[in-house]
């Protein structure tokens, strides 16, 4: 169906690339062995973003993470956007390509957020056929990321894990496990994050995300965590990550930070911590 012979991400730690860290990274990235970019920021025709990306890709393995494809959208995928993605993945030849289980475009409106989906057969069909179309156009396998949930749908009739498994089965995609999203969703929906990880098909996981979140409360005073990517990784996420590695073995893991960006050394420190956890927990396999 698609070429599986591409280079893989190293089973080490990556960091979400931010242009302000370019000079530091070029002096040596320490514990960091790969970088992830948001596809949409590198779809211009030239200039500094593409020049930096070329330098980065000469030295490090790269992951392209789309945030605007609207895989879960009710309408057709945006063919122009899909072509831009194909172009980027074509010339950059990254080691991994991923997108979100979410929608963000409705008709001609792009809403710039990852919006939620009901889990039922209708959505499975739509998401699977969109992923198949993406994989055929881009010419390679895609990893699908689990979302952060703030609410649920009355028309959901399956669990998120069953949903992801079914989509992976029908489309042949892999999965991206965002441990912070698991923690946020589990807290917001009064479920157990460890049980979620235990039920997750870790053999399909090609990448792990670690990040930070904000804390709020809902109308009833129940905790409402918000996936903000603007905080350091907290202890609960580190333990959940260790548990994941213990069950599933080493994986490429990303420190995901999109707001309130700290100096490079701080992110490199988090990467070193992730690497340390990964080497020191005894792999089950």
């Amino acid at each position: 169906m698609f070429d599986q012979s591409f280079e893989q991400l190293p089973k080490g730690c990556g960091v979400g690339y931010k242009p302000q860290h370019f000079a530091d990274i070029m002096e040596g990235a320490g514990a960091v062995s790969w970088f992830e970019i948001h596809a949409e920021n590198y779809m211009g025709d030239g200039g500094r973003p593409l020049a930096q990306l070329r330098h980065l890709a000469e030295r490090y393995a790269m992951s392209v993470h789309g945030v605007g494809l609207s895989i879960g959208g009710e309408g057709d995928l945006d063919q122009d956007h899909l072509n831009r993605l194909k172009h980027l993945v074509g010339w950059l030849n990254p080691a991994s390509f991923s997108e979100h289980l979410a929608w963000s475009t409705h008709e001609t409106h792009f809403l710039n957020d990852l919006l939620p989906l009901p889990y039922n057969d209708k959505t499975v069909q739509r998401v699977s056929s969109h992923i198949s179309q993406v994989q055929e156009t881009v010419g390679r396998q895609m990893l699908l990321e689990n979302p952060s949930n703030y609410l649920a749908f009355s028309d959901s009739d399956m669990s998120e894990i069953d949903f992801l498994k079914e989509v992976a089965k029908r489309s042949g995609c892999g999965l991206l496990l965002d441990v912070n999203n698991v923690f946020v969703s589990a807290t917001n929906q009064k479920m157990n994050a460890v049980e979620y990880i235990d039920a997750f098909p870790l053999d399909l996981v090609g990448e792990i995300h670690l990040g930070g979140h904000d804390e709020d409360v809902d109308d009833h005073g129940d905790p409402l965590l918000i996936d903000s990517h603007d905080q350091p990784v907290v202890n609960q996420i580190w333990s959940l990550f260790a548990h994941t590695i213990l069950r599933g073995g080493k994986k490429p893991v990303l420190i995901e930070r999109d707001g309130n960006i700290p100096p490079w050394d701080e992110l490199e420190g988090e990467a070193a911590q992730a690497l340390d956890i990964m080497t020191n927990v005894k792999a089950a396999a």
């Binding site: 211009g44 200039g47 500094r48 957020d113």
Partner: protein, 253 residues
């Protein structure tokens, strides 16, 4: 029928509408504040994108006013593609029709300038020619030559002193006193676009070059409009900005 993404989208952009009724919390209660997380994310992330695109507009209007205006803008003009780098293309037209700022008729052109800065930033790369080639060419050949202009070069003409206003807000130079028109080019010598004030007639000259007219024809047009057109300054800005990427002499088109 359960509410679909049309209802979800409408409710996202219109806080006066009720939440879609199929959205619940873990206990089956209406989603309430949980839906507002998405409402806030959408408006905040789009407002932040506008702040990034229009820093000078934000300074001129003040953070608070700009924020309130952005809230209206993002609901009227949500992005039409996931290419957020070019979000806000409707801002000049929006400002023209926005009553609270009608006393500041130069604002739409400031918005055009800031949009052009971003277009220049992301424009395709092009290698400049060696300026010596221009300097050493015999006059008759130069007049017949056609120049290629870099894709990152952007030309703007305004009835207002937009270069001086932009500079005042960006570099702290004094705000202009007379409301006279200005024309400018944005050049990107390497990666950072910079606006450059053109002398009178400069815009006519650059526009003719961009349209593929011969150097001599462009010069004629500029001197017809402005008899003492300052060619040296205009050409100097193009060369310093690495904006001339090829020169075709003779019959070559």
């Amino acid at each position: 029928m359960t509410p679909d993404q049309t209802d979800f989208t409408e409710a996202l952009l219109r806080p006066d509408l009720p939440h879609p009724e199929n959205l619940i919390d873990h206990a089956g209660r209406p989603a309430g504040k949980r839906f507002d997380v998405y409402r806030n994310n959408v408006v905040l992330s789009l407002t932040e994108a506008l702040e990034t695109s229009f820093p000078v507009l934000q300074k001129l209007l003040g953070e608070q006013f700009f924020g309130a205006m952005a809230g209206l803008f993002v609901r009227q003009h949500p992005p039409t593609t996931p290419m957020m780098m070019h979000y806000g293309e409707e801002m000049p037209a929006f400002l023209t029709g926005f009553e609270p700022v009608e006393k500041y008729p130069y604002l739409p052109d400031i918005a055009r300038l800031e949009l052009a800065m971003r277009q220049s930033y992301h424009a395709a790369d092009a290698t400049p020619i060696d300026p010596k080639i221009i300097a050493t060419l015999p006059a008759d050949q130069l007049m017949a030559a056609r120049l290629d202009i870099a894709p990152s070069l952007k030309l703007l003409r305004s009835r207002w002193p937009i270069f001086s206003i932009w500079s005042a807000q960006t570099n702290g130079t004094p705000m202009p006193e007379a409301p006279s028109g200005e024309a400018l080019i944005i050049t990107r010598a390497e990666f950072d676009p910079a606006p450059q004030l053109l002398p009178a007639g400069g815009a006519t000259f650059v526009m003719a070059l961009q349209a593929g007219e011969a150097f001599g024809q462009a010069l004629d047009k500029a001197t017809t409009a402005i008899p003492d057109f300052d060619l040296q300054t205009t050409l100097g800005l193009l060369i310093a900005g690495n904006a001339i990427t090829a020169m075709k002499t003779g019959d070559a088109q």
